[in-house]
Symmetry: C2
Subunit: 592 residues, 2 copies
C-alpha cells in the first residue's frame, strides 16, 4: 500500500463536493475535462510513488551537507525532480504561451499534495520554484520573465524566497540588507538572509533568489522594502549563464525534520540584483508569493497528516493486541487494535483532521482558479477576498491539526511508532516545521483577527459567513443533517458576535487586549470552518451507498460532537478580554 | 544559566507547600533535616549540571550501537553514573543496613527530576536500577538480595525490567516466554523481550534483568505469569561473576529521541533464571516496579517540560523582535518577545504545566514516604490507595502536558527552536516517548477509569476527593481565593457525578460504552487534579512578597481561567455515552 492520500477521497472532494469539473466551462480551461484531470493526477501519483516516496527516509537520514564550496543533496532528489520536470509539472498551471497547459490550480494543488505526502522535502524544491515563478509572472518585466521565469517553468532554474535575516524573522520592518543602485540600472546587495530553503544546491542549472532589501534613502519600516532578483549565476540577455554572483552559503541549518532540502544562511556580498517592479513596493509583491507559500504550508501539513493517518489505519487493521473489554477469556484470539475504542478514537480524529484539511486546502486552491477565471470582476474580487481571509486558516489551522494527527499516528503504533523503522515519527518531525515557517501560527492568528476579518469593513468576514450560511441552508431541511445545521448556525452566530466585540475593542484603542487571545480566535475560526466543510462533505455523502460515504458521515458526526462543541468555551475566553497574557508593568515570570 | 529546574521552586514546593520537613519527625527519617535535604539536592544539582547535562546532546547525536557482540555507549554516560554512584545516590532511599542513608523518597524524587532535566537517557540507567532494586528489596529472598540487590545499591550492577515481547506490548496475557524448572531449583528461560531499556551495555559489571515468563502448566493469561531474575553474567553465591548467561541482544531499536540509553530486543536462549517469590505471582510483583516506573515517567515528562520552559523563558527575555501593537514607529527599538501576548501565553502555559506537574510528581512521591512511615496502618493504607489512583494521572497527564509544553518551547524559539543548535527540539523528541512507554496513555486512562477510581467500592476516588475538598475548605474563606475554591468545588462535584454514571453503566454490563471515552476521563481528572494543586500553591503564595509568589498566583489564575474551564465540556462528552468510538458491525474506516 502506498498510503499517500486516498485517490478515492481526492475524487470525492474534487468532483462530488467542489464540482471542479465546472471549471472546464471557463475559457481558460476549455481544453480540459475530467479525463485530463485524471491523467494528470495519475502521472503525479505514479511519480510521487516511484520517485518521491522511495527516498523520503534516505533524505531524512542523510541530510544535505556543505563542503565549504558546494551544497550536496542525495542524487535521488535530482532524479525525482527530473521526473517531475519531464512530466511538465513545473509549468502546468501557466499559459500555453509560457509553455504551460493551463491546468486549474486546484488540480495542481491536488498533485502537490501527493508529492508532499510522499516526500515533503523534495517536493518543496518544486513548490518554492512555482511560487517564485508566480511573482515573476505577475510583476517581472518582459526581459526578466524571459531570463528568469521561463527557465523556471522549464524546470531548469529553481527559485527561492529570501525574506528573513538572522535578527529579523517575523519582523520584516527591521531588515538590514541594503541594495545600492548602480549606473547600469542594477543594484548591489549586501546583507545576510536566514532560513532560505533550497538556498543552494547543484540540482538546477541556476537558482533565482527573490530578495527583500532596502534601497538607502527610502522610507523607514516595511514601506522602504524593495524586491530584487538575485541569481546564483548571472544570466546574459541571451540566456547564457555568466559568472557566479555574490551569494554565498554561510552555513546550513540542521533541523529536527524536513531535512531533505538544505536550509541556508546566505551571505550577499556585492551581489548583483535586478529590481522587480517599482522601488519600495517589495512587500506587496512578496505577499503574492507568501500567500501562495502559506497555502502550500497548510497543504504540506495536511499531506503529512493524511499519509500518517493511512499508515496508522493500516497498522491498526493488521496489528493484533488484546481482546475486547467484554471478553475475559485469555485463550480467545487477540483482535486487531482498530477494535479498541481508544485506538478508534485516535483514528477518527486523524481522519477528521486530514480529510477536513484536504477539503479546506482544495477549497482555497479552487478560489485561486475562481479569482483567475470568474465570469465577472466582482466575483473574482470576492474570491480574492475570501482567499485572503482563509489563507491564515489554511496555513495555521492545518498545521496545528496536522501535528496533532501525526502525534496520534505515532500513538496508534505504540513503541514501534517511536522508532525509525516505521515512517510516522518522521512525518511528525517534518510536520513540526509547518507551524513555524512562512509566518508562525501566532502571526497567522494575528493576521486573521487583526487584519483579515476586519478587511473592507468586515466584508472578508461576511463573505466567509455567507459561504457557511449557504451550507447551513442547504442542509437544514434534511432530517439527518438538521442538528448539524442548527449547531453550525449557532456557532456562526457566536463567531460573528465575538469578531464584532474584538474589533470594536480594538477600534476603541485597546489593541493589545483585543488581540491578546488571537490564537484562541484562530482555534474558533478554524473549528467553525472545518465544521462547515464537514457538513458539506456529509451533505454530498448522504444517501449514497457504501462504506466510503458512511465513513464521511461518521467523521462529520465526530467533528460536530467532539470539535465544534468547543465553540462556546472559546467564545467565552475571547469575550472575557482578560489581561492574563498582557505584559505587566513589573514582570513576575521569574524562576528565582 | 543551567535551566534545569528552578531550585527556588523546588524549595517552595517541598517546604512551603508539601511540608516535607515534617517527615523528619518520623522514626525512619529522624537523622534528616532540611539541611541534609539541601546538601543532597546541592550534590545532585552539581552532578546533574557537571556530568549529565554536558553530554545530553552528544547522547542524542551519537547513539548507542551494537557491534554484534557488545553494545557501545558514550564514555560520558559511564562517567556520569560513576559520579552518581560515588555520591551514594543508588542506595540513598534504602535502609542503613543496606548501605543507604534513609533519604525520604520525595527528596530522592526531586534529585531524580534534576538528573532527568539534565539528561533523561543517562538518568534512566539509574532510575531503572532503582526500580529493579525495590522489587528485590520487597520480594527477593535473602540470598537473592545478597547476590542481586546489594550490588545494585552499590551501583556495580544495573537493573532492567523485561515485560513486553514483539507481539505483546500492552497485552501481557499473551506473553510467550517460557521458564522450565530445573532439578537444581533454577529455571531455563526461552523467548524474546522487546523494548528493553538498558538491556545491554558495558557500563556496569553486570545487568540484572527482571523477566516475566510463564511456567508450563500454569494458569492461562496473566494469572500464569511468574517473575524471574536473569543476570547477564551468572553470579556465584560468593558474589563472584560466572560465565555469560543466555541473554543476547538480537538488535537495538532506533528511536526518534531518548537515544542515549540503548533499547534492545533481547533473546533468551536457555537463560538461567531464579524465580522471585511464588510462582504465578509475577505480575503483582512487577506492578511494584511498574508503578514506580510510571511515576518516574511522569517525572521525566515534567522534567523535560520544565527545562524546556526555562530555555524558552530565557530566550523570550533576551530575543528582541518587533514592537508592541500600539507602537507604529518603525524606528523605535525592538522589544524582547516576552512582551508579545502570544509569546507570553505560550510561556504561561508552560509554567502552569511544568510547575503544576512538578507539584503532582512530588505529591505522589511524598505519598510513597507516607505509605512507608505513616503513624498508623490505616494512614499508610490510605496513602497507598491514593497513590494507586494518582499513578495513571502522574504518568498519563504529565506526559500529555509535557509534550504540549515542549511543543510550545519550540514555538517560542521560532525557526531556531527547530534546529539542533538549540536544545528544545531534543526535549520534544525525548518527551514523545513518555506518552508511550510503561503503558501507553490510552492504557493509563483505562487504568484510571476502569480500575482505580472504582477500587474498594470507590474508596480510591473518595480519598482523592477528600484531599481536593480539604484545599477547597482551606481556601474558601480567603477573599482572593474564593472564586477558585468555588470553581473547584463545582468541578469536583461534576467529576464525582461523571465517575458515578460511568461506573454504573459499566456495572450494568455496557463496559465498552462506559469506558470508550476513558481518555477524556483522564483529561477531566488530570485537569481537576492540577487545578487542586494550583490552588494549593496559590494558597501558600498568597500574601508573600516578591515576583516569585506573584508568578504563582498568576499561573493559578491562568489555570483556573484557561484549563479548568474545560470541565463542563469534558463532562458532557463523557455523560453522553455515545457510540462514536465503538467498533461497528461493518467498519466504514476505509479509504477506497
Amino acid at each position: 500500500m502506498d498510503r499517500l492520500i486516498s485517490r478515492r477521497d481526492l475524487e470525492f472532494l474534487l468532483y462530488e463536493v467542489l464540482d471542479v469539473e465546472a471549471l472546464t466551462q471557463r475559457e481558460r480551461y476549455r481544453d480540459h475535462s475530467r479525463e485530463t484531470f485524471k491523467d494528470t493526477l495519475d502521472v503525479a501519483y505514479r511519480i510521487a510513488v516511484e520517485h518521491f516516496a522511495t527516498h523520503n527516509k534516505k533524505n531524512d537520514q542523510e541530510e544535505p551537507w556543505f563542503d565549504g564550496e558546494r551544497v550536496h543533496t542525495n542524487p535521488e532528489v535530482k532524479a525525482a525532480l527530473e521526473a517531475y520536470r519531464q512530466a511538465g509539472l513545473f509549468a502546468a498551471t501557466h499559459d500555453y504561451a509560457l509553455g504551460g497547459i493551463q491546468l486549474p490550480y486546484v488540480i495542481a494543488t491536488a498533485c502537490g499534495a501527493l508529492f508532499k505526502a510522499a516526500n515533503i522535502a523534495t517536493a518543496s524544491f518544486a513548490l518554492l520554484t512555482a511560487g517564485n515563478a508566480n511573482v515573476l509572472r505577475k510583476y517581472g518585466s518582459p526581459a526578466q520573465q524571459k531570463k528568469y521565469l521561463l527557465p523556471q517553468l522549464e524546470g531548469r532554474f529553481f527559485g527561492t524566497m529570501c525574506l528573513s535575516e538572522p535578527h529579523a524573522g517575523s519582523s520584516l520592518t527591521d531588515l538590514l540588507t541594503r541594495a545600492e543602485p548602480q549606473a547600469d540600472g542594477t543594484y548591489r546587495l549586501n546583507g545576510s538572509k536566514m532560513w532560505i530553503s533550497g538556498g543552494d544546491h547543484e540540482i538546477a542549472e541556476n537558482i533565482v533568489h527573490l530578495v527583500l532589501a532596502k534601497i538607502p534613502g527610502g522610507p523607514p519600516g516595511v514601506k522602504g522594502i524593495s524586491l530584487f532578483i538575485v541569481p546564483k549565476y548571472l544570466v546574459h540577455d541571451d540566456g547564457r549563464l555568466g559568472p557566479r554572483n555574490g551569494v554565498r552559503v554561510a552555513g546550513l541549518n540542521h533541523k529536527m525534520g524536513y531535512r531533505g532540502i538544505p536550509n541556508c544562511l546566505l551571505s550577499l556580498e556585492d551581489a548583483v540584483g535586478e529590481l522587480v517592479g517599482a522601488p519600495h513596493q517589495g512587500l506587496s509583491y512578496m505577499f503574492t508569493m507568501m500567500n501562495e507559500a502559506r497555502i502550500g504550508v497548510g497543504m504540506g501539513a495536511m499531506a503529512l497528516a493524511y499519509t500518517g493517518y493511512l499508515h496508522a489505519l493500516e497498522y491498526a487493521q493488521t496489528r493484533t493486541q488484546g481482546r475486547r473489554m467484554h471478553d475475559k477469556n485469555p485463550a480467545s484470539p487477540a483482535v486487531p487494535i482498530i477494535q479498541h475504542p481508544d485506538v478508534r478514537r485516535m483514528l477518527i480524529m486523524q481522519k477528521a483532521y486530514a480529510e477536513g484539511c484536504l477539503h479546506l486546502c482544495l477549497y482555497a486552491a479552487r478560489l485561486v482558479d475562481e479569482e483567475r477565471t470568474a465570469p465577472t470582476p466582482e466575483a473574482a474580487e470576492q474570491a480574492r477576498l475570501l482567499l485572503e481571509v482563509l489563507t491564515p486558516v489554511v496555513k495555521g489551522w492545518s498545521s496545528e491539526l496536522g501535528i496533532r494527527a501525526n502525534e496520534l499516528a505515532i500513538q496508534v503504533h505504540g513503541g514501534y511508532g517511536y522508532t525509525r523503522d516505521y515512517n510516522v515519527e518522521q512525518f511528525y518531525r517534518d510536520n513540526r516545521l509547518n507551524a513555524i515557517h512562512e509566518g508562525t501560527n501566532g502571526i497567522q492568528a494575528l493576521d486573521l483577527l487583526a487584519r483579515k476579518v476586519g478587511m473592507q469593513e468586515g466584508l472578508g468576514f461576511r463573505l466567509w459567513a455567507q459561504e457557511v450560511e449557504r451550507t447551513i441552508q442547504a442542509s437544514r431541511d434534511t432530517h439527518a443533517l438538521r442538528p448539524y445545521a442548527e449547531a453550525l448556525e449557532q456557532a456562526l452566530k457566536t463567531t460573528a458576535q465575538v469578531t464584532q466585540q474584538l474589533l470594536n475593542k480594538a477600534a476603541q484603542g485597546e489593541v493589545e487586549r483585543a488581540f491578546a487571545n488571537s490564537f484562541a480566535y484562530l482555534e474558533l475560526f478554524g473549528t467553525v470552518t472545518l465544521a462547515w466543510l464537514w457538513l458539506e462533505q456529509a451533505r454530498k455523502a448522504l444517501g449514497k451507498e457504501g462504506a466510503f460515504y458512511r465513513g464521511k458521515l461518521e467523521a462529520a458526526r465526530y467533528f460536530f460532537l467532539y470539535e465544534l462543541d468547543k465553540v462556546p468555551l472559546l467564545a467565552e475566553r475571547l469575550m472575557r478580554l482578560d489581561d492574563v497574557f498582557l505584559y505587566p508593568e513589573q514582570d513576575w515570570l521569574t524562576t528565582d
